[in-house]
């Protein structure tokens, strides 16, 4: 199948075949990463611009390693604060990025929808590395890849996503990657941190909401815990972090309610002792480090599909 998409902004309108193509390509990239020399010339002569307008180390480094493993030239542009604060508008930045002549713009931005704004105004391919609460498609795809590796075909598998769903681009992109592959998703978390529409019967296709984590996790095939920002408590959405940890934190006892060997994922960075117990985070079920490794491979796969100049041979 020939790759058709110019950008990776969200996977909400992707077909199962498209997602599977990325995951299969990711498998080939894992092989490249397992070689003694982790480098292939697939993007030789291409320039990848990493535009991170919001603090991020992990995702930026992951993309940087991915681009370099494909022999692309990589440039970093960092900016902090909103466009209003820093006095340069996103429109100015887009014009600059376009003038610089990058082939791929990888961007992270605090405003939901910002990658659409950029994609509409540049000739480069745009990869969304996280926009506000909206989407983090490479995280969704790497979670799907990781779960497929652990569970095999995801058809009929039930995955629990627990935590701050409302403010989570990871939750949305996990849903958009897992449901097309046949999985069902149970959302769990405090009602103040789940969108009202999703609590009132209008959940996205393939998902349900169960506030009681013990019930949600019972017999599940995997669980993904989300990072809890302490500012949610300050905003009055939670009485206390302590109560959150007790009610929605992944303890060993809770994890044991899943199917035997059902894996535990977390997009990182973790608040150990809040949304996940340290013993779970570093326990036998944890795939959290595998997620990090797979993240590089997924990003390589997407960069290759969008801008590859030479074939990757296994």
């Amino acid at each position: 199948m020939t790759w058709q998409r110019r950008h990776v902004l969200a996977t909400d309108d992707w077909t199962k075949a498209e997602i599977e193509q990325v995951l299969d390509q990711t498998g080939a990239m894992v092989e490249v990463l397992n070689r003694p020399i982790r480098r292939t010339p697939a993007l030789r002569g291409r320039t990848v611009i990493l535009f991170f307008a919001e603090a991020s180390t992990r995702t930026r480094v992951s993309f940087e390693l991915a681009a370099k493993a494909l022999s692309a030239d990589v440039t970093n542009i960092t900016a902090s604060g909103s466009s209003v604060e820093k006095g340069e508008t996103l429109l100015d930045t887009v014009r600059t990025l376009t003038a610089l002549g990058g082939d791929v713009i990888v961007m992270r931005h605090s405003a939901s929808g910002a990658p659409y704004f950029v994609a509409e105004r540049t000739d480069a391919a745009v990869i969304n590395a996280g926009d506000g609460w909206h989407a983090h498609p490479t995280q969704g795809l790497l979670d799907a890849f990781t779960l497929r590796g652990a569970l095999g075909d995801l058809e009929g598998k039930r995955i629990v996503i627990v935590g701050d769903i409302t403010h989570s681009r990871v939750a949305r992109s996990d849903i958009d990657a897992l449901v097309p592959l046949g999985a069902t998703v149970t959302l769990s978390g405090p009602p103040t941190l789940v969108p009202s529409a999703w609590r009132c019967g209008m959940t996205p296709r393939g998902t349900t909401y169960e506030p009681d984590l013990d019930r949600a996790i019972d017999g599940a095939d995997a669980v993904i815990a989300l990072r809890l920002q302490s500012e949610r408590q300050q905003a009055g959405l939670l009485p206390s972090i302590r109560e959150y940890a007790k009610t929605w934190g992944l303890s060993e006892a809770r994890v044991a309610r899943m199917r035997p060997d059902a894996p535990v994922l977390h997009p990182g960075p973790m608040n150990e002792g809040v949304e996940i117990a340290a013993s779970v985070a570093h326990g036998a079920r944890s795939l959290i480090e595998t997620q990090v490794t797979n993240g590089v491979a997924v990003r390589m796969a997407l960069l290759y599909l969008l801008a590859g100049t030479q074939e990757v041979t296994a």
């Binding site: 466009s83 508008t89 996103l90 429109l91 939901s112 929808g113 659409y116 704004f117 999703w198």
Partner: protein, 403 residues
């Protein structure tokens, strides 16, 4: 009035519709202070191109229209524009700050036709009561922008299934409805003439309906966009509330960002029902032009507002064609309804002529308004104003081009 007689004859011959000049209770002309977005002159010309021969200018300018001198200035500039008749609305509170009443009697004497802090609600309940009571001495209505600022804090669109999907902070219907409920309750003790601006939810319509049934002296308006567009437009839909599918725009288009926000299809339906049964008295544009610098930004940073004057008539005609309303009732809500809200007689020598079959595409250059911020850009609409008469004078004439 030979101009009117001649036009009526041409209209009958060509299958055009005629109506008394439309009165818009709610328009932002941006002057003084934001002349890059609109001026009184450009706004008055755009209004006329949309069939509005009388427009009420909201006072949220810089400075805000809170003194008799500023009211006089708006009147003078409106007259100089020689387009639509411009009637000034003055603020309820000094500087629109919601702290102390403006000099309402003097503002009325200077020519203010109503009072409003539009864009901001008068959150202090006691001050709002005082405004309603004191405005009785000025014999003018109070136009309230009803919004609970705590419930809507940080919101950039309607809270619902679309905001959940897009990861944008929503403004719940409750933010509008609790505020309207308070306003109606206060009006019951205060008396006075409360006019509820831009009603947009099914619950709001029902609150006004019940208040009227109880005998409360209250009026309400709805905008053309809340009678046609839904929150799906933020996600890129280009389908009216009564349509399915069709082409799509890029999601997060900031021209869909407006306050009150575009609501769900059921709310649009309820607004039409409220219009048809007389709960809603007037269709008002809330024309809110913005310079591109305010809109060519991230969705959450963009200014609220849609440029509406020149697309109002075709939007309403589309709703009528879909069977959601009738032409007679729409005309009433654009003429006698708003006149009743203002307590004025319908200007006798105004006329608007509409070609209901004219098909045109909305483009930036097709709009006279400086504000090109409409989500209808690129969309083909049916129905267009071909002539307007103000005070017996033909001020818009596309009749030759239209024949």
């Amino acid at each position: 009035m030979t101009a009117i007689t001649d036009l009526r004859r041409d209209a009958a011959k060509n299958g055009w519709m005629t109506a008394p000049g439309f009165i818009d209770l709610h328009a932002h002309l941006r002057e003084p202070g934001f002349e890059e977005s609109e001026t009184i002159a450009t706004g008055a010309r755009a209004a006329l191109a949309g069939g509005f021969t009388t427009i009420c200018a909201m006072p949220n300018t810089e400075p805000a229209i809170d003194s008799p001198g500023l009211v006089a200035e708006v009147i003078a500039r409106g007259a100089a524009a020689h387009a639509a008749r411009v009637l000034p609305i003055a603020t309820i509170t000094r500087g629109r700050k919601g702290k102390e009443l403006a000099d309402l009697v003097e503002l009325a004497a200077a020519g203010a036709v109503a009072f409003s802090d539009d864009g901001s609600p008068v959150s202090d309940g006691q001050l709002f009561r005082n405004a309603l009571e004191y405005a009785r001495a000025a014999k003018r209505p109070v136009f309230e922008h009803s919004q609970d600022l705590a419930l809507s804090a940080g919101g950039v669109m309607h809270e619902g299934v679309v905001s959940a999907r897009l990861g944008l902070k929503g403004m719940p219907a409750a933010a509008e409805e609790t505020a309207i409920a308070r306003d109606l309750s206060v009006a019951r003790v205060a008396g006075g003439r409360l006019h509820v601006s831009h009603v947009s939810t099914a619950g709001s319509v029902e609150l006004v309906r019940r208040a009227k049934a109880d005998g409360l002296q209250v009026t309400a308006e709805v905008t053309p966009h809340h009678l046609a567009l839904t929150d799906e437009w933020v996600a890129g839909s280009r389908a009216f509330a009564w349509e399915d599918g069709g082409d799509r725009a890029t999601p997060y288009g900031t021209s869909t960002k407006v306050n009150p926000p575009l609501r769900a299809a059921a709310d649009v339906r309820a607004c039409w029902a409220g219009l048809m049964d007389g709960t809603i008295d007037a269709i008002a544009t809330d024309h809110a032009p913005h310079a591109s610098t305010k809109k060519d930004v991230e969705y959450q940073e963009a200014a609220f507002g849609i440029s509406v004057f020149e697309t109002a008539v075709p939007l309403l005609l589309a709703g009528i064609a879909a069977g959601w309303g009738t032409w007679d009732r729409v005309v009433d809500a654009l003429t006698t309804g708003p006149a009743r809200v203002l307590g004025i007689d319908l200007p006798k020598d105004d006329l608007v002529v509409i070609d209901p079959k004219a098909v045109w595409t909305v483009t930036a250059s097709s709009l006279l308004s400086l504000g090109k911020n409409t989500p209808l850009l690129g969309r083909t609409l049916t129905g267009r104003v071909v002539a307007c008469i103000v005070d017996g004078e033909l001020r818009v004439d596309l009749t030759r081009a239209a024949v």
